[in-house]
């Protein structure tokens, strides 16, 4: 049976959606291939269908969902937008970096002598001023450290010089801890030793002062 143009039009969607039986499909194709009116129609509708199916949804107005929710659930509390960054920043990879940056900032802040509100001027924010300040603070910290080490050395030296005068057995416990176990030295001998030690200590302190003087 040969199909007419009307029959072809009626079954066009079935053909395009592969809903025709094999024999119907053959009849359809036979007519479409030989009919100068139906051939372009099939091609047009087929192309148009492809275009329709390729169309994406139109973008929705940005506040539409919020408007609907306000309309149905009533006005809601606005979520604080920046809070959504907290879980992200709390991840180890970001948290470590953040802590490092904060520590660096703290060191620089400390090195520059902190911020004194009363004396704060615009010139303090000049990078050159910050670097110079950090540099002088670093040198000052180094000098203090050197002085501290020197002082410590002097103190140990004094202790070691004084120890033979107060205790005849170095390496043992302090005299005050075990006074009864030790034989007390002769009084005049002890006085002479103490005087000598004090003279040496005074000389050492004078030397140390000379060395640590800027």
């Amino acid at each position: 049976m040969n199909w007419s143009c009307v029959q072809l039009e009626e079954r066009l969607s079935d053909y395009l959606e592969n809903a025709l039986s094999e024999s119907e499909q053959r009849e359809f194709r036979a007519h479409a291939d030989s009919c100068p009116r139906c051939a372009p129609l099939v091609a047009q509708v087929s192309r148009m269908l492809g275009s329709l199916h390729s169309l994406e949804f139109e973008p929705v107005p940005p506040m539409l969902a919020s408007k609907i929710l306000d309309l149905t659930l009533g006005p809601r509390k606005k979520k604080i937008e920046w809070l959504k960054w907290v879980p992200i920043l709390w991840q180890p990879r970001f948290a470590t970096g953040l802590v490092t940056v904060l520590a660096t900032a703290l060191i620089i802040f400390h090195a520059t002598g902190g911020v004194k509100k009363s004396k704060l001027t615009l010139a303090d924010f000049n990078p050159i001023a910050i670097i110079q300040s950090a540099n002088s603070q670093a040198h000052l910290a180094f000098a203090r450290g050197v002085k501290f080490v020197n002082d410590l050395r002097v103190v140990y030296e004094i202790q070691s010089r004084l120890q033979p005068a107060s205790s005849g057995t170095p390496g043992q416990q302090t005299p005050s801890a075990t006074p009864s176990q030790q034989k007390p030295p002769n009084q005049s001998q002890q006085n002479r030793l103490t005087q000598d030690s004090f003279a040496e200590v005074a000389a050492l302190i004078a030397n140390a002062r000379l060395r640590s003087a800027p």
């Binding site: 009626e10 129609l41 148009m48 329709l52 994406e56 309309l71 149905t72």
Partner: protein, 189 residues
Amino acid sequence: MEADAQLVQRCLKGDGPAWEELVRRHSRRVYNLCYRFTSNSSEAEDLTQDVFLRIYRTLASYRTAYGGFPTWLTSVTRNLLVDHYRRSRRDRMTDALEDVLPVVEEKHSPVRTPDKAAMAQELSAQVQSALAKLSPELREAIILRDLQGLEYTEIQQVLSVPEGTVKSRINRGRIELARILQEMGVGPS
């Protein structure tokens, strides 16, 4: 992803986040259905709000026997669109002749660019313009089948007409739409 039916049950128990999820999941589809039918983004937005307001108020009447939640949602949308069309047709009776045909918003640049996104946008606007010239019956059938991707049985439920009528409308709508696009000089590739 939680099924729509479960979300509906949670909504009925007063669960706000469940309703929020339903709105976010389906507002795009509803908006597009309204936009394709009205050719006006502002009207489509208002209608989408009306649809969800009605859905919210009648959620207790939803039964899974009606079909899936999207089908029920589409039915409600379609009913509101029909009401809107009747209302606007009555309003247009007093309007000038040039206002009778729906005006398609200019969404594309007059200058053609080889950019794919621009071409897609232009095609979308041309299809929209052609859809606006179809009769409402054929237009809704085409939108539901070819733009929203509904099955024939779902369309049958939404339109409350026999399957034969659905198929016939879709077939006639496609032929008519292709003819209109041809007259507009649009050669879909």
